[in-house]
Amino acid sequence: MIHSLFLINCSGDIFLEKHWKSVVSQSVCDYFFEAQEKAIDVENVPPVISTPHHYLISIYRDKIFFVSVIQTEVPPLFVIEFLHRVADTFQDYFGECSETAIKDNVVIVYELLEEMLDNGFPLATESNILKELIKPPTILRSVVNSITGSSNVGDTLPTGQLSNIPWRRAGVKYTNNEAYFDVIEEIDAIIDKSGSTVFAEIQGVIDSCIKLSGMPDLSLSFMNPRLLDDVSFHPCIRFKRWESERVLSFIPPDGNFRLISYRVSSQNLVAIPVYVKHTISFKEYSSSGRFDVTIGPKQNMGKTVEGVVMTVHMPKAVLNMNLTATQGSYTFDPVTKVLTWDVGKITPQKLPNLKGIVNLQSGAPKPEENPSLNIQFKIQQLAISGLKVNRLDMYGEKYKPFKGVKYITKAGKFQVRT
């Protein structure tokens, strides 16, 4: 099982360590640093590294490496999932998962890690339970604590852990009972030079914010549940009901959680909401090139495409770029060679365009590779797959909750090859 955990920042300092069994010397991280050096880019450090006596399984989140040490055969996915859960918990508790936040709350971090893992076995990883055991820091509470001497550690039994619904805490009470669902869809796509779709799929999630008193039993149904053929559920969902009736029936955890995630695969046609026209060319033997990109909307079902940002990793030989944007603003970082164009909203009447001259290092050969364009966008009030919530019913409680559903479509890994 998980033996130890080291948190390492980008400059290679180990700023926190936690051991669940015997202490493993920090020197084990040298193997990690070695791999990091070899990988050059931080993202490219392999997640599983073997050392003579241990295995190091790591994730990279928010500029922090979470490096866990294991000694016996343990499913690596188990470890990786757990590490992500740790990072999620920090995020949840401190609002951000950063080195400063962790250092500022080191005692809570330590207490959390202790509660999350016992002898390497996961103990309490549900946010609902953890919050019952260890209260998250708030400014008010720390002031109160320091005056009254009360602590941020609860002394109740985490009751939820024993019931059949370990994800929900008991005795929840709200004056305003609300249930909100956000249907968020991300389009992952690769568009080739000619504009045709090489690959496209939709990754969707339904994130919920449920603030309901007591033990509400909800069922959520869809207009077109057939779209959902590849789904991952939160443990609270009754699988049998879904299998037989295609209805999501569940007793929700309290607060924010991800109800389901789903994938609408390439078998169903995925509508691509934007198109990109581009000419990026480098002239042989002259140290310059041309850059001309236009973005336009298509098939957006009457909704506006907004929050459009284009980022391009230009080839190493590019020195700087001299461009004019008809809309929005652009920046080019000559160190990382990243061009960012913040377009904003697209109006079909006047398509945004960015064009101009690319200056190359003199004498450098013409770059072989053509950069890919990375596009981000957002469309409010639209689930591009067409998924629609039909109705939400509540059983088990008497009050009438306020219900809300919001749809949003975003670009995920949306790449245009040039």
């Binding site: 700023f15 809570i108 202790e114 039994l157």
Partner: protein, 947 residues
């Protein structure tokens, strides 16, 4: 107000100050002090000096303070064992606390104090907690047993905690069940033989029920445990599968992958005709694809596992090619894995898409990735024949880019394409030659040299090209040197007139000026071949090469089956069985897929049935004799066969046996002497064999003198035993052996040696179909289990009534041997004379008629050299091996022997052996209706006469 304030005191008297605060009367001050201590501890500062003061704070009602003190205790108890005893009383008391949270906390912390002296005090409280009325306490106690076991295994066994733990599997609370399973699994890992998780249908049922209700982590433990269960029949397997499939929709990827493992394993037992089988296959694809949309680290592990799954059951993901397309900002480790899977999934149906993608990748920035993409194009060409043409033209396009590393990779893969489709794409050679100068990597240089040597007759200036490489011969890597040597010898054999000088130069460079034994060995072999028998040299060096197989890097099927049982584990990430890398490998139990038990024994299944021994249909795994010869002489660049093939088989042929025995020792003994002698520049094509011994000393003479036992006289000649299967290759089992024929019966004489640390038993043997239908006439009888370091001699009787398939070479025999550990494959060559039957003597008249009857093109002539026997001795020696002399004539001082022999399958071979009294070289003419056997009969002659 944040915790960072705890770090701010850096004054010298910090510890002293804390000590004072810890002993303060004020509760609040105490707590703050403990917090400071913990903060220092977390960043690695040594605050162990405060141990007694902190422990004093333990007696408190404040839960937070108690927890903090516990944290401290866990960290420092080890370094202060005597002090830690002070804490025992509090633990014992806390275990009786009315609040279950306190009880659980106490039992949890106790287990983390890794001090021997304390552990015995913990047994009683732990026993109580294991039977606590509150499930939260029970589940915490279950984990504590595992902790205690880690500290003192004996104690846990003596106290009977293991039995209590087993009882907890039937607990009413799913969380307790899950933790008991987890604890038992961890303990079982250090006791592979203890059979702790003795699963039966009842306990399986309990586990499946708990599976639905426990936490995600508990589900992982339970699924991993289920995977070790062996259902008794296909119906049980199906019912387990049905109850596990809902886990595929879990949000936790580790749960999903563990469920996939269970399904992949139990699917093996389901009949393929079952509707359910098809349904299951369909259900497996979406969750696997979903794993790829997770974080990159998860993707990586998922991809490594998908790689295994795709090899085992390609049908699952065959329609999902697109999800493996690479995005430019994927981390490199994800890109490389995706590429690998793309090639595995490539088929005629999707090859156009795949190629378009690969071409795209070949222009990316990342050098490693680009290289692999170029290589992948070559692999597509080899895999999907219809696409070969397009692949080659794509590669040529890439060569035109002149990007150095792209060109080099392209040349390396084009060489493989030439090997797969000979005489099809050679028109591109000219383009390749243009890039000769830009090659700076050994592999690319070697590939180019191979191409030049192989197609020397089509390249006008081949000699110039090769000569240009020769200038810097000593600076080249071994790979290039070996290839250059072979290429020049090929060139010489193709264009002998103009390249004599070149070949002499390279041979002397290789044999005299190099201290690399491989290079020298190969140099000597060529030199020897060229000097003794250029015809034979041509046959060997320019022999037709076996085609390379489609999939060059498949995991060996038995290993794959084992790895499928380890889906989701580290083994699946490394693609190695746990025994190969797990620390100390504390007797890792080998897992194997369950045998299929369904109604129809599906023979159309492409996967190997894991039970029983099966040597057939695995051409990629068994290094065939053809590969062996090829590899020895000129195909070092070929696709990787499993391991150095020379070690895996024994050969009775002269040329190759040189390598195995004689030459190596010769090189060792004589190397200095030879370096100095310098006078033995090879004299191609005119060498007189008798002179050979002189410049080399006695060494070379020994080459042909197969030392070792000489066969018994009563039967035909028996070669000394050679190692067929080295222990390294077979998990400790070494097999050496030979073939013999005595009074009409053939036998395979084996010596099995156990070089492993465990006892071996349950031996069985099976042959693949072969040219003469050789098959074991009785099962392999090893009466007692074979203890470590023991060996046993067995004579396995053979018959020739097995099924027949023509092998290449003709006398190749592929053998599978099974024992309790695994199944091992090797191949060997049997000498043909074991097939010569006793009634092989032909009537004189018949002989004459037959000789005339067989067309002259069926006649083959061979030279038997270095044989000093006279005609009568030859005759009697051959008779011992059932080669019968029918007549003897003396013509002009030469003895002519007319002989006949018959093979077990009724083929007659007629021979004329000419012996000149002054010449140790005999001429053998063979006539036979099946001329392909002649060469092997000649080998038999040579073997018999030389021994």
């Amino acid at each position: 107000m944040t915790d960072s304030k705890y770090f701010t005191t850096t004054k010298k008297g910090e510890i002293f100050e804390l000590k004072a605060e810890l002993n303060s009367d004020k509760k609040e001050k105490k707590k703050e002090a403990v917090k400071k201590v913990i903060a220092s501890m977390t960043v690695g500062k040594d605050v162990s000096a405060l141990f007694p003061d902190v422990v004093n704070c333990m007696q408190t009602d404040n839960l937070e303070l108690k927890k903090l003190v516990y944290l401290y205790l866990m960290n420092y108890a080890k370094s202060q064992p005597d002090m830690a005893i002070m804490a025992v009383n509090t633990f014992v008391k806390d275990c009786e606390d009315p609040n279950p949270l306190i009880r659980a906390l106490a039992v949890r912390t106790m287990g983390c104090i890794r001090v021997d002296k304390i552990t015995e005090y913990l047994c009683e409280p732990l026993r109580k907690c294991l039977k606590d009325e509150d499930p939260y306490v029970r589940k915490t106690a279950a984990v504590c047993v595992a902790k205690l076991h880690d500290i003192n295994a004996q104690l846990v066994e003596d106290q009977g905690f293991l039995d209590t733990l087993k009882d907890l599997i039937s607990d009413s609370n799913p969380m307790v069940v899950a933790n008991a399973v987890a604890a038992l699994s961890e303990i079982a890992e250090s006791h592979p033989s203890s059979n702790l998780l003795d699963l039966n249908p009842q306990s399986i049922n309990k586990l499946l029920t708990a599976l639905n209700e426990c936490t995600e982590w508990g589900q992982i433990f339970i699924l991993d445990c289920l995977a070790n269960y062996m259902p008794k029949d296909d119906r049980e397997a199906q019912s387990i599968c049905e109850r596990v499939t809902p886990r595929l929709s879990h949000a936790n990827s580790a749960v999903v992958l563990s469920a996939v493992k269970v399904l992949m394993k139990f699917m093996e037992m389901l009949s393929k005709d079952l509707d359910y089988y098809g349904t299951l296959l369909k259900k497996l694809a979406p969750p696997l694809v979903t794993l790829l949309s997770a974080e990159p680290e998860l993707q990586y592990v998922a991809l490594r596992n998908i790689n295994l799954i795709v090899q085992k059951r390609p049908e699952i993901l065959k329609h999902e090619m697109k999800v493996f397309f690479v995005k430019y900002n994927d981390p490199i480790y994800v890109k490389l894995e995706k590429l690998d899977i793309m090639i595995r999934l490539a088929s005629q149906a999707n090859i156009a898409q795949v190629l378009a993608e690969l071409k795209e990748y070949a222009t990316e920035v990342d050098v490693d990735f680009v290289r692999k993409a170029v290589r992948a194009i070559g692999r597509c060409a080899i895999k999907v024949e219809q696409s070969a043409e397009r692949c080659v033209s794509t590669l040529l396009d890439l060569i035109q880019t002149k990007v150095n590393y792209v060109v080099q990779e392209a040349i390396v893969v084009i060489k493989d394409i030439f090997r797969k489709y000979p005489n099809k794409y050679e028109s591109v050679i000219a383009t390749l030659c243009e890039n000769l100068d830009s090659l700076d990597e050994p592999e690319a240089r070697a590939a180019m040299i191979w191409i030049v040597g192989e197609y020397a007759e089509r390249i006008d200036n081949a000699d110039e090209l090769l000569e240009s490489f020769l200038e810097g011969f000593h600076d080249e890597s071994t790979q290039v040197q070996l290839q250059l040597l072979t290429a020049i010898v090929k060139l010489f054999l193709k264009k002998p007139t103009e390249t004599q000088e070149l070949v002499q130069q390279v041979l002397s460079l290789a044999t005299q000026d190099s201290d690399n034994p491989d290079l020298r060995d190969r140099g000597y072999i060529y030199w020897r071949l060229l000097s003794t028998d250029p015809v034979a040299a041509k046959e060997v060096v320019l022999a037709e090469k076996p085609l390379i197989s489609e999939e060059t890097d498949l995991i060996e099927p038995t290993l794959l089956d084992e790895l499928i049982c380890y889906i989701g584990t580290l083994a699946s990430v490394y693609h190695k069985p746990p025994s190969a890398f797990v620390e100390g490998s504390r007797g890792v139990v080998h897992k194997s897929l369950p045998p299929r038990t369904g109604s129809s024994e599906s023979a159309e299944s492409p996967d190997t049935a894991p039970s029983g021994v099966q040597a057939a249909e695995q051409p990629a795994v068994i290094p065939t004799q053809g590969d062996l010869l090829g590899d020895l002489l000129n195909l070092d660049l070929g696709p990787p066969v499993s391991g150095p093939p020379i070690a895996t088989s024994s050969v009775q042929m002269g040329a190759v046996d040189l390598l195995g025995g004689g030459l190596d020792s010769l090189m060792g003994d004589e190397s200095e002497g030879m370096g100095g002698s310098g006078s033995f520049a090879p004299a191609p094509s005119t060498a007189v064999p008798t002179n050979l011994g002189a410049p080399l000393g006695s060494g070379l003479g020994d080459l042909f003198d197969l030392t070792g036992g000489v066969g018994t006289l009563s039967g035909s000649y028996v070669a000394p035993k050679t190692v067929w299967l080295p222990a390294m290759k077979a998990k400790g089992l070494e097999i050496s052996g030979t073939f013999s024929r005595q009074v009409g019966s053939i036998s395979m004489d084996l010596v099995l040696t156990n070089k492993a640390l465990q006892v071996m038993s349950d031996f069985a043997i099976q042959f693949n179909r072969n040219s003469f239908g050789l098959a074991p006439a009785a099962p392999l009888q090893v009466h007692a289990p074979l203890a470590p370091n023991q060996s046993v001699e067995i004579s396995l009787p053979l018959n020739t009534v097995g099924s027949v398939m023509k092998m290449d070479p003709l006398n190749n025999l592929q053998v599978a041997v099974k024992n309790n550990i695994d199944v091992f494959y090797f191949s060997t060559l049997y000498p043909l004379h074991i097939l010569f039957v006793e009634d092989g003597k032909m009537e004189r008249q018949m002989f004459l008629a037959t000789w005339k009857d067989i067309p002259n093109e069926n006649e083959a002539q061979f030279q038997i050299k270095d044989c000093s026997l006279n005609a009568d001795a030859v005759s009697s020696k051959l008779q011992g091996s059932n080669i019968f002399t029918i007549a003897k004539r003396n013509v002009e001082g030469q003895d002519m022997l007319y002989q006949s022999l018959k093979l077990t399958n009724g083929i007659w071979v007629l021979a004329e052996l000419r012996i000149q009294p002054s010449n140790p070289s005999f001429t053998l003419s063979l006539k036979c209706r099946a001329p392909e056997v002649s060469q092997y009969v000649y080998q038999a002659y040579e073997t018999i006469l030389k021994n």
